[in-house]
Amino acid sequence: MSVPIHSRPLMVLRLATSATQDIGSTPQGTLTIFPVIGGSFDGERLRGKVLAGGGDWVTARGDGTVTLDLRVTLETDDEGLIHMTFTGVRDDANHYFRTVPRFETAVPKYAFLNRLVAVGIGEIRPEGPVHLIEEIL
Protein backbone atom coordinates (compact mmCIF):
# COMPACT_ATOMS: atom_id res chain seq x y z
CA MET A 1 0.00 0.00 0.00
CA SER A 2 1.47 3.35 -0.91
CA VAL A 3 1.04 6.31 1.38
CA PRO A 4 0.48 9.65 -0.36
CA ILE A 5 2.68 12.63 0.47
CA HIS A 6 1.17 15.28 2.71
CA SER A 7 2.96 18.25 4.18
CA ARG A 8 2.29 21.25 6.35
CA PRO A 9 4.17 24.51 6.86
CA LEU A 10 6.94 24.37 9.43
CA MET A 11 8.62 27.74 9.07
CA VAL A 12 9.68 30.52 6.78
CA LEU A 13 13.45 30.96 7.09
CA ARG A 14 15.15 34.19 6.07
CA LEU A 15 18.93 34.31 5.99
CA ALA A 16 21.24 37.31 6.05
CA THR A 17 24.66 36.66 4.60
CA SER A 18 27.87 38.66 4.41
CA ALA A 19 30.43 38.96 1.60
CA THR A 20 31.11 35.58 0.02
CA GLN A 21 34.33 33.66 0.39
CA ASP A 22 35.19 32.49 -3.10
CA ILE A 23 37.18 29.29 -2.77
CA GLY A 24 37.15 28.81 -6.52
CA SER A 25 37.46 25.80 -8.74
CA THR A 26 37.70 22.50 -6.86
CA PRO A 27 37.36 18.92 -8.08
CA GLN A 28 33.65 19.08 -7.16
CA GLY A 29 32.95 22.40 -8.90
CA THR A 30 33.20 26.05 -8.03
CA LEU A 31 32.84 26.50 -4.28
CA THR A 32 31.49 29.71 -2.79
CA ILE A 33 30.88 30.07 0.94
CA PHE A 34 28.09 32.37 2.09
CA PRO A 35 28.68 33.24 5.77
CA VAL A 36 25.37 33.57 7.62
CA ILE A 37 25.34 36.61 9.89
CA GLY A 38 21.72 36.51 10.99
CA GLY A 39 18.16 36.07 9.92
CA SER A 40 14.83 34.93 11.24
CA PHE A 41 12.46 32.01 11.19
CA ASP A 42 8.76 32.05 11.79
CA GLY A 43 6.13 29.35 11.97
CA GLU A 44 3.09 28.36 13.96
CA ARG A 45 5.08 26.13 16.32
CA LEU A 46 8.41 27.96 16.51
CA ARG A 47 9.93 31.31 15.76
CA GLY A 48 13.09 33.18 16.52
CA LYS A 49 16.36 34.34 15.04
CA VAL A 50 19.23 32.81 13.15
CA LEU A 51 22.50 33.22 15.02
CA ALA A 52 25.59 34.53 13.33
CA GLY A 53 28.29 31.96 12.76
CA GLY A 54 26.77 29.61 10.24
CA GLY A 55 27.13 29.36 6.53
CA ASP A 56 26.11 27.83 3.27
CA TRP A 57 28.72 25.97 1.22
CA VAL A 58 27.52 26.38 -2.33
CA THR A 59 29.05 24.40 -5.18
CA ALA A 60 28.35 25.19 -8.83
CA ARG A 61 28.57 21.87 -10.62
CA GLY A 62 29.50 21.24 -14.20
CA ASP A 63 25.92 20.48 -15.24
CA GLY A 64 24.64 24.00 -14.54
CA THR A 65 23.11 23.16 -11.19
CA VAL A 66 24.22 24.36 -7.78
CA THR A 67 24.31 22.26 -4.63
CA LEU A 68 23.89 23.72 -1.17
CA ASP A 69 25.23 22.56 2.17
CA LEU A 70 24.08 24.78 5.02
CA ARG A 71 24.69 24.76 8.75
CA VAL A 72 23.17 27.30 11.10
CA THR A 73 22.04 27.63 14.68
CA LEU A 74 18.50 28.80 15.35
CA GLU A 75 17.51 30.44 18.62
CA THR A 76 13.81 30.38 19.42
CA ASP A 77 12.03 33.30 21.06
CA ASP A 78 12.03 31.26 24.30
CA GLU A 79 15.80 30.73 24.05
CA GLY A 80 15.88 27.16 22.74
CA LEU A 81 18.83 26.33 20.52
CA ILE A 82 18.28 24.26 17.37
CA HIS A 83 21.03 22.96 15.14
CA MET A 84 19.82 23.05 11.55
CA THR A 85 21.45 21.76 8.40
CA PHE A 86 20.26 21.37 4.88
CA THR A 87 21.49 20.09 1.58
CA GLY A 88 19.79 21.12 -1.59
CA VAL A 89 19.88 21.79 -5.26
CA ARG A 90 19.32 24.93 -7.27
CA ASP A 91 18.68 24.76 -10.99
CA ASP A 92 18.11 28.32 -12.12
CA ALA A 93 17.40 27.35 -15.74
CA ASN A 94 14.35 25.45 -14.52
CA HIS A 95 13.48 27.76 -11.61
CA TYR A 96 14.02 24.87 -9.24
CA PHE A 97 15.42 25.48 -5.75
CA ARG A 98 14.66 22.79 -3.18
CA THR A 99 16.34 21.76 0.04
CA VAL A 100 16.17 18.92 2.57
CA PRO A 101 16.52 20.38 6.08
CA ARG A 102 17.33 18.45 9.24
CA PHE A 103 17.08 19.58 12.81
CA GLU A 104 18.68 18.59 16.11
CA THR A 105 17.66 19.95 19.46
CA ALA A 106 17.83 19.00 23.12
CA VAL A 107 14.87 21.18 24.13
CA PRO A 108 11.89 18.93 24.96
CA LYS A 109 9.38 21.42 23.55
CA TYR A 110 11.05 21.22 20.16
CA ALA A 111 11.96 17.52 20.19
CA PHE A 112 9.38 16.95 17.43
CA LEU A 113 11.97 18.48 15.09
CA ASN A 114 14.29 15.53 15.75
CA ARG A 115 11.66 13.15 14.37
CA LEU A 116 10.57 14.70 11.10
CA VAL A 117 11.79 15.02 7.56
CA ALA A 118 11.21 18.28 5.72
CA VAL A 119 11.48 19.93 2.35
CA GLY A 120 12.30 23.58 1.69
CA ILE A 121 11.23 25.63 -1.28
CA GLY A 122 13.84 28.31 -1.83
CA GLU A 123 13.44 31.74 -3.34
CA ILE A 124 16.06 34.36 -4.02
CA ARG A 125 14.54 37.71 -3.08
CA PRO A 126 16.14 41.15 -3.17
CA GLU A 127 16.62 41.07 0.62
CA GLY A 128 18.24 37.62 0.51
CA PRO A 129 17.30 33.95 0.31
CA VAL A 130 13.96 32.86 1.76
CA HIS A 131 13.10 29.20 2.41
CA LEU A 132 9.51 28.01 2.81
CA ILE A 133 10.03 24.85 4.85
CA GLU A 134 7.36 22.17 5.02
CA GLU A 135 7.18 19.21 7.37
CA ILE A 136 6.55 15.93 5.56
CA LEU A 137 3.63 14.30 7.36
Binding site: M1, V3, S7, D63, V89, V100, N114, R115, I121
Partner: protein
Protein backbone atom coordinates in the same frame (compact mmCIF):
# COMPACT_ATOMS: atom_id res chain seq x y z
CA UNK B 1 4.11 21.58 -1.89
CA UNK B 2 3.51 19.74 -5.17
CA UNK B 3 4.86 16.31 -5.94
CA UNK B 4 4.50 13.68 -8.62
CA UNK B 5 5.15 9.99 -8.59
CA UNK B 6 8.69 9.09 -9.56
CA UNK B 7 8.66 5.37 -8.86
CA UNK B 8 7.55 2.59 -6.56
CA UNK B 9 10.35 0.40 -5.26
CA UNK B 10 9.98 -3.09 -3.83
CA UNK B 11 13.00 -4.21 -1.83
CA UNK B 12 13.89 -7.58 -0.35
CA UNK B 13 15.96 -7.32 2.81
CA UNK B 14 18.68 -9.84 3.61
CA UNK B 15 19.82 -10.93 7.04
CA UNK B 16 20.31 -8.02 9.45
CA UNK B 17 23.79 -7.63 10.89
CA UNK B 18 23.60 -6.33 14.42
CA UNK B 19 26.66 -4.15 15.05
CA UNK B 20 25.38 -3.36 18.53
CA UNK B 21 25.62 -0.45 20.93
CA UNK B 22 27.67 2.42 19.52
CA UNK B 23 28.14 5.78 21.24
CA UNK B 24 25.02 7.33 19.69
CA UNK B 25 22.61 4.38 19.59
CA UNK B 26 22.33 0.83 18.31
CA UNK B 27 23.69 0.23 14.87
CA UNK B 28 22.68 -2.50 12.49
CA UNK B 29 23.13 -3.14 8.81
CA UNK B 30 20.57 -4.50 6.42
CA UNK B 31 21.84 -5.82 3.08
CA UNK B 32 19.24 -5.12 0.41
CA UNK B 33 19.29 -8.30 -1.57
CA UNK B 34 17.23 -7.59 -4.63
CA UNK B 35 14.22 -5.71 -5.80
CA UNK B 36 12.56 -3.76 -8.54
CA UNK B 37 11.50 -0.20 -9.22
CA UNK B 38 8.90 1.07 -11.60
CA UNK B 39 7.59 4.50 -12.50
CA UNK B 40 6.35 6.50 -15.46
CA UNK B 41 9.89 7.53 -16.48
CA UNK B 42 12.11 4.69 -15.31
CA UNK B 43 12.01 1.07 -14.29
CA UNK B 44 14.46 -1.69 -13.57
CA UNK B 45 16.10 -3.73 -10.85
CA UNK B 46 18.14 -3.14 -7.70
CA UNK B 47 21.66 -4.51 -7.79
CA UNK B 48 22.74 -6.41 -4.69
CA UNK B 49 26.16 -5.68 -3.21
CA UNK B 50 26.17 -1.92 -3.17
CA UNK B 51 22.63 -1.74 -1.87
CA UNK B 52 22.61 -1.61 1.91
CA UNK B 53 20.71 0.16 4.68
CA UNK B 54 22.91 1.38 7.53
CA UNK B 55 20.51 1.79 10.43
CA UNK B 56 20.92 3.55 13.73
CA UNK B 57 18.33 3.08 16.45
CA UNK B 58 18.62 6.31 18.40
CA UNK B 59 18.16 6.63 22.13
CA UNK B 60 14.91 8.56 21.52
CA UNK B 61 13.44 5.50 19.78
CA UNK B 62 13.76 6.86 16.26
CA UNK B 63 15.32 4.61 13.64
CA UNK B 64 17.62 6.57 11.35
CA UNK B 65 18.29 5.06 7.95
CA UNK B 66 21.20 5.69 5.63
CA UNK B 67 20.20 3.84 2.48
CA UNK B 68 22.34 3.25 -0.55
CA UNK B 69 21.10 1.55 -3.67
CA UNK B 70 22.53 0.88 -7.07
CA UNK B 71 19.74 0.77 -9.64
CA UNK B 72 19.93 -0.64 -13.14
CA UNK B 73 17.26 0.52 -15.55
CA UNK B 74 15.72 -1.75 -18.16
CA UNK B 75 17.79 0.07 -20.79
CA UNK B 76 21.06 -0.52 -18.96
CA UNK B 77 21.70 2.75 -17.11
CA UNK B 78 23.27 2.63 -13.64
CA UNK B 79 21.89 5.03 -11.05
CA UNK B 80 23.25 5.58 -7.57
CA UNK B 81 20.58 6.41 -5.04
CA UNK B 82 21.22 7.54 -1.48
CA UNK B 83 18.53 8.27 1.07
CA UNK B 84 18.32 9.53 4.58
CA UNK B 85 15.23 8.36 6.41
CA UNK B 86 13.42 8.18 9.71
CA UNK B 87 11.08 5.54 11.08
CA UNK B 88 9.19 5.73 14.35
CA UNK B 89 5.76 5.09 15.79
CA UNK B 90 3.79 3.73 18.71
CA UNK B 91 5.78 1.00 20.51
CA UNK B 92 3.19 -1.70 19.77
CA UNK B 93 3.30 -0.91 16.05
CA UNK B 94 7.10 -0.94 15.92
CA UNK B 95 7.08 -4.22 17.89
CA UNK B 96 4.65 -5.76 15.37
CA UNK B 97 6.97 -4.76 12.51
CA UNK B 98 9.82 -6.34 14.46
CA UNK B 99 7.87 -9.58 14.67
CA UNK B 100 7.51 -9.60 10.89
CA UNK B 101 3.84 -8.67 10.79
CA UNK B 102 2.24 -6.59 8.07
CA UNK B 103 1.16 -3.28 9.56
CA UNK B 104 -0.92 -0.44 8.09
CA UNK B 105 1.78 2.06 7.00
CA UNK B 106 -0.37 5.01 8.05
CA UNK B 107 0.03 3.96 11.71
CA UNK B 108 3.73 4.89 11.86
CA UNK B 109 6.11 7.43 10.36
CA UNK B 110 8.46 6.07 7.70
CA UNK B 111 9.80 8.72 5.35
CA UNK B 112 13.00 8.98 3.35
CA UNK B 113 14.63 11.66 1.21
CA UNK B 114 16.34 10.07 -1.80
CA UNK B 115 18.97 11.73 -3.97
CA UNK B 116 20.22 10.34 -7.25
CA UNK B 117 23.40 10.38 -9.29
CA UNK B 118 23.75 9.11 -12.81
CA UNK B 119 25.88 9.69 -15.88
CA UNK B 120 23.34 8.29 -18.31
CA UNK B 121 21.94 10.99 -20.66
CA UNK B 122 18.38 9.62 -20.49
CA UNK B 123 18.23 10.03 -16.71
CA UNK B 124 20.10 13.28 -16.06
CA UNK B 125 16.88 14.79 -14.71
CA UNK B 126 17.46 12.66 -11.61
CA UNK B 127 20.66 14.57 -10.78
CA UNK B 128 18.70 17.78 -10.31
CA UNK B 129 15.68 16.84 -8.28
CA UNK B 130 14.75 16.43 -4.63
CA UNK B 131 12.49 13.54 -3.73
CA UNK B 132 10.41 12.33 -0.79
CA UNK B 133 9.40 8.75 -0.15
CA UNK B 134 6.87 7.07 2.05
CA UNK B 135 7.76 3.63 3.28
CA UNK B 136 5.71 0.54 4.01
CA UNK B 137 7.71 -2.08 5.89
CA UNK B 138 6.50 -5.53 4.83
CA UNK B 139 7.85 -8.80 6.26
CA UNK B 140 10.01 -9.40 3.18
CA UNK B 141 11.23 -5.81 2.95
CA UNK B 142 10.11 -2.25 2.45
CA UNK B 143 8.02 -0.78 -0.33
CA UNK B 144 8.95 2.82 -1.08
CA UNK B 145 6.66 5.16 -2.96
CA UNK B 146 9.01 7.87 -4.20
CA UNK B 147 7.72 11.26 -5.26
CA UNK B 148 9.62 14.01 -7.03
CA UNK B 149 9.27 17.35 -5.25
CA UNK B 150 8.15 19.76 -7.96
Amino acid sequence: MNTRLLMTMHVKVGTLLNIGAVPHGTRRTAPLGSGTFEGPRLRGTILPGGSVDWQLLRTDGVLEMDLRFTLRTDDGALISMRSFGLRHGPPEVIAAIGRGETVDPSTYYFRTMPRFETAHPAYLFLNRLIAVATGDRRPEGPIYTIHEVL
